[in-house]
Symmetry: C2
Subunit: 123 residues, 2 copies
């Protein structure tokens, strides 16, 4: 399958490879991890999460804030819910959304730190 055979001297870093292989998260968890970040990896969802950093909001509020349809927002909120990134509180007809747990805020903030450095590097 893979053209690893091209590596003629494949003993070169075999000890490193073996070490890393033993310590590497198995495929199940790395897939889960990728899936988590994939959920963060969308403009709309990021803006929703950023909106919820400060206050809980209902679908209607978020739609208005991001100038998008209720349907689009609701679809994305489902994705966020499924990943436990937001939680809900129902009050009458309205559903209020807020961040799921502290990880969400931390991940967003470190991400912001990273891109801020990147933006500075560009200058």
């Amino acid at each position: 399958m893979a053209d690893n055979l091209e590596c003629e001297i494949n003993n070169l870093h075999e000890d490193n490879i073996e070490y890393v292989r033993e310590n590497l998260l198995d495929n199940y968890y790395s897939s889960k991890l990728a899936l988590l970040f994939k959920v963060f990896g969308d403009d709309t969802r990021v803006r929703i999460l950023l909106s919820l950093l400060n206050k809980e909001l209902c679908v209607c509020d978020i739609s208005s804030l991001l100038n998008m349809t209720h349907s689009a927002i609701s679809h994305q909120l489902k994705v966020l819910r499924d990943m436990n990134l937001v939680k809900t509180r129902k009050d009458g007809k309205e559903v209020y959304y807020s961040l799921g747990d502290d990880h969400v805020e931390v991940i967003l903030n470190i991400g912001i730190e990273h891109i801020m450095e990147e933006v500075n590097d560009e200058n």
Copy 2:
């Protein structure tokens, strides 16, 4: 464009909306942020980054470790490089990759924390 007009009583949380709107990161930065997480949001790239947590590795090593073609790995390494998530050290014909900065490790670890809680919730 958006069917926000459905919100008849759209003064309902207008103060909240206004507050969040003022504190919300502008579109330029939230797009950058989403782009950053999008790069984390792929199985192959996550496994590459996890591999590099412990040791620097060359393309050949990573290919062997993940059992994928050099080409596939190299393409993904470019994506990671462009986002400053990995850095390179050239030694002869080989190019050694390592994590770009501390943010990468932190983001991975918090991600792992989150999915571990999630996995526990499932039981």
